[in-house]
Amino acid sequence: MTKNWIAELRTIVGPRNVITGSESLAWESDGLSLVRGMGQAIVLPLDTEETVRVMKLLAREGVPVVPRGAGTGLTGGATPVEGGVTVGTARMREIFSIDPVGRLAHVQAGVVNSDLSVTARPHGLFYAPDPSSQAACTLGGNVANNSGGPHCFMHGSTTRHVRGVKLVDAQGQVLDLLASPADPEGLDLVGLITGSEGMFGMVTEVQLNLEPLPEEVQTIIAVFPSLDAACDCVSEAIAAHIEASAIEILDKLTIAAVEDSIFAAGYPREAEALLLVEAEGGALEVQETIDLVLQLAKKHGAMEIRSAQDKAERARLWAGRKGAFGAMGRVAPDLYVADVVAPRTRLREIVALAIKIAEERNLRLGNVFHAGDGNLHPNIAYDRRDEDEVRRVLEAGQLIMEACIERGGSLTGEHGVGVEKMTHMCDLFDDDDLNTMHRVRDALDPKRRMNPTKVLPLRACREVRNGGLPFSPMGNLGAKT
């Protein structure tokens, strides 16, 4: 059957920017390589104008749309949908302007997160939300997922930095909220769009808040004899209202992986747990914060404390932390990255539980997490060719999620729901809650064409709990609604 509309797409964006051949396989998954999908085409528009024409065409043809940034998401949010078209922002890489007075940046959605901070630096500014994938992930993707990062402990997640967006909705209309005032004139549509995982439309441009570069930064690492001690130290620090800019923990397995990789940061390998804390701001308050951390660390048995002596050392310490996920890739062919949130008063308990769940199933689990926010990343190494191991890994992931929720925690702190956590939405929300989300989505996208089969389970929670919704990790996850 001739797809005339695909030919029409080529006339809009240029023939090179519509991909339908065998190389389409490269787009079959995002950072969650376990889940794959195949659509009808991939389209790469250059700007908002091309995106509008593309979206109008796809609306006319009733084709589902999957927005995609750099495809670094870890929950399958950018997995292609059967019969759908992936619309990517990879060609929308322009930084339009930086306003040093208003501390704002106007960028296209495909701009890479770290590129913005690099560009803002000469103005004495930086972009605060710093996911570990910041050298690759796009700002549009950050908006869709409300991405976090270590420094969100002080500065807040992406949603606290999105001032305005330009979005092309399911019907191809442009919602231009770029020049938004400090408070929204009507409804807070920008706040609604942030974190909506591509289901309300395609963000093509963003206006973001920038922060002034801190006057002073201090970074320390503290070596603990046990993960328990490190967690307790953090819990106490939070209770003492510490105002650090980032509080991170790495465990022994993760440290070993990092030290074996190109990101070797000089972390002491004998550490059972490593606490990485950074404080930024005025010189005096930074010193007080660090002193408080040192005090607490010693109280909880820290065996060694090191302070970064210069920018280079600080950069190395952070490169190690941010490279942890990638470095774990050396430990086994595949990595399951969990992303649960624990109440900060119960860090130790939940971390210990995660370890136990993995041990029971003979799995290697490495903990690296944003301890300050209670956002845990229990990472499990495995080989996808071993079907039984895959089953055990998924089971462990599920149990960890359930354990967290039972103790007042949450499903996901920064990676989003996507495909991976869809069925678990029922653990956190009931049918009324989810139906309300459906209502909002249906109001904006009545034909359910924007990123379908993601985030919201389509069956009632009762059915989901009784195993009603299939999640097939090894095969094609089509739009089987």
């Binding site: 997640s157 400090a182 308050e285 989003g416």
Partner: protein, 414 residues
């Protein structure tokens, strides 16, 4: 339906549903005891096709006084959640609090102070306002300069939709990205989408020390320019407000945080200010409360939003155009300009000076007319798509139309 006035209707309902009546600002309103009763009231509203309006503590009524609406007979029935108040959860060491919507903000502030924490917005002047009311009105405090607007610190919410459905979004944790952030949608929706029942907020540490200054300036334009300068010099400023009253124009601001840092920072601020202003140490919170009250939206008629780079110019234009008794209150970090006089509920037309500020401002809205959310008012200029989205959302969440006073259900988009 019969031509009864609002209070009659309220009485009728009250008797019918067993729901008590309350009084807020001389308005008779329904005060349901719990979620069940509230659902019943909403049910009645759907059946008898009249609209309801959650009014919090009534401080924002200036913008929706029943007699301001064209058709008093069809004025909305006020609902107060005064009986659904109180803290639901505050775990020491978690840094969050969850409370019911009817909780007075001040009570909440006091409750968290006990554990050395404070609420994320400094609305200390809002003496009676409720949590739900403040969130629904989308209010923030002057300390948004440092901490961001209040909506950025709402972690989750539970609301009741027009059909009585209880719906949650978000959660009680500081980091959470599960599902859509509907609580961001409800915040600032002025009760047109749902009734907020409870909300979770992120708390901040009580500052060890506060300090503020107050200084007369020649006029608003130069005052704002000075404000921008100081912000560059001292990024840790907590709040910075420019006020124009009959007598004078003043630039006021303050710091808060660790004592040693505040001490060092205040010297830098004083140096940057040049002339020696009055400054306050221990008095600071009271000063700020007074200021905050002055900055409440219910004392002003208009709000203008402007990019910081254009504010000074815009203020110059306003000062030239407005009579000297017109009050101005400017949040120098957010670019928000509030223009007096207070609470003119009959404002329906764009003021004469609105034309001249056109290019400089990004938004202009009246603070006293509720219906602007539906873009039926000429003052604001939302784009057709924005209007479309707002209509779709309102119809999607409230198909019966009981939360919107002027939207005729027959006009709902397909």
């Amino acid at each position: 339906m019969s031509q009864t006035n609002a209070s009659d209707r309220a009485h009728l309902l009250g008797q019918g549903s067993g729901c008590a009546l309350g009084e807020v600002h001389e308005l008779t309103c329904l005060a349901p005891k719990d979620h069940g009763q509230l659902a019943e009231v909403l049910g009645e509203a759907r059946r008898r096709s009249f609209s309801v309006l959650p009014i919090g503590a009534g401080s924002q009524l200036a913008w929706c006084r029943p007699d301001a609406i064209d058709d008093p007979a069809n004025a909305p029935t006020p609902i107060s959640l005064m009986h659904m108040a109180g803290v639901l959860e505050q775990i020491p060491g978690e840094g969050t609090v969850t409370a019911q919507a009817g909780t007075p903000w001040c009570d909440l502030a006091q409750a968290v102070e006990q554990s050395g924490e404070c609420l994320p917005a400094d609305l200390a002047g809002a003496t009676t306002s409720t949590l739900g009311g403040i969130l629904a009105a989308g209010r923030s405090g002057p300390n948004r300069l440092r901490h961001g607007p209040l909506r950025h610190h709402v972690l989750g919410m539970q609301v009741m939709l027009s059909d009585g459905t209880l719906a949650k979004s978000g959660g009680r944790l500081v980091k959470n990205v599960t599902g859509f952030d509907l609580h961001r949608l409800y915040t600032g929706s002025r009760g047109t989408l749902a009734i907020i029942l409870d909300a979770s907020l992120r708390l901040k540490a009580l500052p060890e020390r506060e300090w503020s200054f107050s200084m007369p300036v020649a006029d608003c334009a130069s005052g704002f320019t000075k404000a921008l300068e100081i912000q560059q010099v001292m990024p840790r400023l907590h709040w910075l407000v420019l006020t124009r009253t009959q007598n004078e124009v003043r630039l006021q601001g303050g710091l808060a945080g660790r004592a040693s840092q505040v001490k060092a920072d205040q010297e830098r601020v004083l140096t940057a200010l040049g002339d020696t202003p009055e400054f306050f140490d221990g008095q600071a919170p009271t000063e700020r409360k007074r200021l905050g009250e002055e900055g409440a939206e219910n004392r002003h008629a208009w709000e203008i939003g402007s990019p910081l780079t254009h504010c000074a110019e815009l203020l110059g234009i306003l000062e030239a155009q407005l009579p000297t008794e017109t009050k101005l209150w400017v949040d120098c970090g957010a670019g928000r300009i509030l223009v007096g006089p207070a609470g003119d509920a009959t404002v329906t037309e764009k003021p004469s000076w609105a034309e001249t500020i056109g290019a400089e401002a990004t938004s202009l809205r009246p603070l006293c007319v509720h219906r602007h959310l539906h873009a039926q008012w000429t003052g604001s200029n939302p784009s057709p798509t924005q209007t479309d989205w707002q209509q779709r959302l309102t119809c999607g969440l409230d198909p019966a139309g009981i939360f919107s006073m002027t939207l005729d259900p027959g006009e709902a988009p397909a």
